[in-house]
């Protein structure tokens, strides 16, 4: 107890020097939380967006389907069985049928993936309900980027050519019913969404689908003849990128922490040098050396507690504010193929705060302890005289 009281008195007594150290340490602390919070916020939003727009709670693939091999799409479709239809009706699953096609905006040929989706589905955020009221015309919804690239706007028609299940060509003009904007580039790049029933009719693949997307309440269980793919599997690439971003952040916060620790170290060296008489007195009064080392270590380590407090004073309002307004991300970042929201709202988990706190406290204590070890070697008589050794 005495150690803590002494530490507090000494620290506050040192005035400006203590506060300088504390402020730098608090920077390190706040920055560490901020950076990781930002990455975590990005991660969560991107994962949520990808789940909301594309993968749901996972996907069931027709066994031969391979998302990176478009050649498999031709045969990767099968009839949706009755139990699955029941699930679809309950809104637990939604089927998607994939058909490779070509479209000809302004006479240029371009490959496009036709995706048949259920206009009544609520699992994915896609505005599929816009496909509900197609009268005679075949309607499609497309993403904003695809629309911009091909200079298509709502109401425009574009010629699309595909083959039915037997390989027979068919081609019609498809009207753009609506254009949506999403943060998930893979949802819109080269994709055109049609009513699944229309696409089934167009291709003769009656009641067939290539993948099933699982919704929130769907109980994930094996469906025969469909391979389940977890969200983690579907997000492998993205996770790898986030991992690497976090690694980059470690160095940055680490350097800032080192600077703060350097200052604490310097302060400790000096106070032990200047307060030899005090040390001698403690020992003369009957304290063991390790107790004295403890006093100085606690004193140095207490910087980190103060830093946490100071950090909290300006950090908490800052974080709350950032969480409210968000951090605007560069527009069009998605063009580079990365799933990223236009505004990132940092996410501060308790884990993150506690682990940053522990890191700062432990490291500050360690650097305080290192110079304090010298005390153990002091002779109390010499120390009392204040002689430099």
């Amino acid at each position: 107890m005495i150690a803590i009281k002494l530490a507090y008195k000494n620290l506050v007594g040192a005035g400006l020097r203590t506060w300088l150290n504390v402020s730098v340490l608090s920077f390190a602390f706040v920055l560490m939380i901020f950076y990781n919070g930002m990455i975590e916020g990005w991660n969560r939003q991107a994962r949520n967006d990808t789940q909301d727009w594309e993968i749901g709670q996972g996907q069931y693939w027709e066994p031969s389907f391979d998302r990176y091999d478009p050649y498999t799409y031709q045969d990767a479709h099968q009839v949706i069985s009755e139990p699955i239809i029941q699930q679809i009706k309950k809104g637990l699953l939604t089927p998607i049928l994939l058909v490779q096609a070509n479209m000809y905006p302004q006479g240029r040929m371009q490959s496009v993936l036709l995706k048949g989706v259920d206009p009544k589905q609520n699992i994915l955020k896609l505005p599929t309900s816009d496909l509900r009221f197609s009268s005679n015309e075949t309607c499609a919804i497309i993403g904003k980027r695809l629309a911009d690239e091909n200079k298509l706007s709502v109401g425009d028609k574009v010629l699309v050519r595909w083959r039915d299940k037997n390989g027979m060509f068919d081609a019609i003009e498809i009207k753009i019913a609506s254009i949506f904007k999403t943060d998930v580039p893979s949802v819109e790049n080269g994709n055109m969404y049609l009513n699944i029933e229309v696409l089934q009719k167009m291709t003769g693949m009656t009641n067939e689908a290539s993948i099933l997307v699982a919704g929130k309440d769907s109980k994930l269980y094996d469906i025969t003849n469909w391979d389940f793919k977890t969200p983690d599997f579907l997000l492998t690439d993205f996770d790898a990128m986030i991992q690497s971003k976090k690694a980059g952040g470690i160095i940055m916060s680490g350097l800032l922490l080192i600077i703060a620790l350097l200052a604490i170290f310097d302060t400790q060296v000096l106070s032990i040098f200047r307060r030899q008489k005090e040390i001698g007195t403690y020992i003369a009064m009957g304290m063991t050396r390790s107790q004295v080392v403890g006093i100085f270590t606690v004193e140095g380590g207490a910087h980190s507690i103060l830093a946490a407090l100071v950090g909290a004073i300006y950090g908490i309002p800052l974080f709350i504010w950032l969480n409210k307004v968000g951090i605007p991300m560069a527009a069009n970042s998605q063009d580079a193929g990365i799933t990223i929201a236009d505004t990132i709202y940092p996410y501060y988990s308790l884990d993150l705060i506690i682990s940053s706190l522990l890191l700062v406290i432990i490291s500050a204590t360690i650097v305080s302890y290192m110079p304090a070890r010298k005390i153990a070697k002091l002779k109390p008589t010499e120390a009392l005289k204040g002689k430099i050794q």
């Binding site: 400006l16 020097r17 300088l20 150290n21 402020s23 730098v24 920077f27 390190a28 920055l31 391979d66 990176y68 091999d69 478009p70 050649y71 240029r108 371009q110 490959s111 492998t236 690439d237 790898a240 990128m241 991992q243 690497s244 690694a247 980059g248 952040g249 160095i251 940055m252 350097l255 800032l256 080192i258 600077i259 703060a260 350097l262 200052a263 310097d266 302060t267 060296v269 000096l270 040098f273 200047r274 991300m329 560069a330 527009a331 069009n332 970042s333 998605q334 063009d335 580079a336 990365i338």
Partner: protein, 423 residues
């Protein structure tokens, strides 16, 4: 007086060594951090520049319009002529050709007939020229899982996942079956010299990397290239890129010929302009925080320095030295120590940044996917401002700290000096 102070600093280690070390470390960290930060915030842009956009890129206008579809039928003719024009007009930049293509990789059995087949994404880069930086730029060397880089024509790198799926070993033959720029089918058999881990599923499924000359041969693109990329010797510089682009386009781009070359700078492509701006903002904020933090630390060091020598000043006062003179020497010493520390720190900081610019820190060992092509490797960047920013905390903050600490001299009374000093 300066000379006298110098001697003092050199001979009294407690006066010189620790402060200089701390300032050097502090300045070093400031510079390193700034360079690092620029590296970390621009890594995505950097990755784009290296793999896709270059710092500037020359394509035909027609190719640019359909770039996503790899329309090699619209590729740039007279590649060598354009390459030498670009090299002549901008000798400080590195100009490289690249060809992107798609095709099938066909694995033969012992009779030379198809054993297995899979679609592949192809990239042709300059692997064989002795002074080409392309293999490093694309991080190919580090993403090698097996084997080695192609060392002569007719060798290829393929993705490791593909190789394992189809049982292809280093040294085996693999046939690229694709179409020439004219649409004819083409076959070219390559010896697999090594396998790569790209860290991107699409590429890991099937990809082939060959030398540009092999691709030109295989795709009937002699003296033709998909694109010519230009790289500055160092960091991307938008003003310079703009200048080079304008000059080139004014001179060589013809509005009525869609096959005439057109230059695009990095920021013209794929939303990178906004990303770059954001990266720059983020970097300046971070560097600012860091310089403030470092200044505070060195200010503190200044304060500590003053305290450390409290008794010395007492003695000097007792001997009758003027308070203002002592104060002046404190300031001068701080300037000298600050300068030495800043210079030493800057030298070390720049060298570290330079080293990391060239080599980077590889985080892949910490991660699940090792040897990736899209690397968790971070690099620092050496920029001109790194040469002076270290002096802000190193010199100014240090001097300020000493000035504040030294100010207490004026509070000291000669009468109590001897009591304080206990002599």
């Amino acid at each position: 007086m300066i000379q006298f102070l110098f001697k003092g600093i050199l001979r009294d280690k407690s006066r010189s060594l620790l402060p200089v070390i701390i300032i050097s470390i502090g300045v070093f960290l400031t510079i390193f951090m700034s360079g690092w930060m620029k590296g970390i915030f621009t890594d995505m842009i950097d990755l784009n520049a290296k793999f896709t956009t270059g710092h500037v890129k020359v394509m035909t206008q027609a190719y640019a319009e359909n770039e996503k579809q790899l329309p090699n039928d619209l590729a740039l003719m007279d590649a060598n002529k354009w390459l030498s024009i670009l090299q002549k007009e901008n000798p400080e930049m590195e100009w490289v050709q690249r060809i992107h293509f798609g095709g099938l990789l066909d694995v033969p059995d012992s009779n030379g007939e198809t054993r297995a087949q899979g679609p592949a994404i192809g990239k042709a880069i300059d692997l064989l020229s002795p002074n080409s930086h392309e293999a490093n730029r694309m991080n190919i060397t580090k993403s090698l899982v097996k084997g080695s880089l192609p060392s002569k024509n007719g060798q290829a790198l393929i993705s490791n996942e593909f190789a394992e799926r189809f049982g292809v070993n280093v040294g085996d033959d693999i046939t690229l079956f694709g179409s020439t720029m004219h649409g004819s089918m083409t076959f070219q058999t390559f010896k697999v010299s090594g396998t790569l881990n790209f860290g991107m599923s699409a590429l890991d499924r099937g990809a082939i990397i060959i030398d540009i000359s092999d691709a030109q041969q295989a795709l009937d693109m002699l003296d033709v290239t998909s694109e010519i990329l230009g790289y500055f010797n160092g960091d991307y510089n938008d003003n310079q890129a703009e200048l080079i682009k304008t000059n080139f386009n004014n001179k060589y781009t013809k509005a009525d010929d869609e096959y005439s070359p057109q230059m695009y700078k990095l920021t013209d492509q794929g939303g990178l302009k906004e990303m770059l701006m954001q990266a720059e903002n983020m970097t300046s904020i971070m560097v600012f925080i860091f310089i403030v933090a470092m200044s505070i630390v060195l200010w503190n060091t200044g304060l500590l320095g003053g305290l450390r020598r409290y008794s010395e000043y007492g003695v000097r006062l007792a001997l009758g030295e003027e308070k203002s003179h002592i104060y002046k020497t404190i300031i001068y010493e701080a300037i000298i120590i600050g300068s030495i520390g800043s210079i030493v720190g800057t030298i070390f900081g720049l060298s570290a940044c330079f080293y990391l610019q060239e080599n980077g820190i590889d985080f892949s060992d910490l991660m699940k996917n090792v040897d990736m092509m899209m690397p968790p490797v971070y690099r620092a960047i050496v920029t001109p401002d790194l040469f002076y920013i270290g002096f802000i905390p190193g010199l100014f903050a240090m001097t300020l700290g000493n000035a504040l600490a030294g100010y207490s001299i004026y509070k000291r009374k000669t009468a109590t000096l001897f009591k304080e000093l206990e002599v």
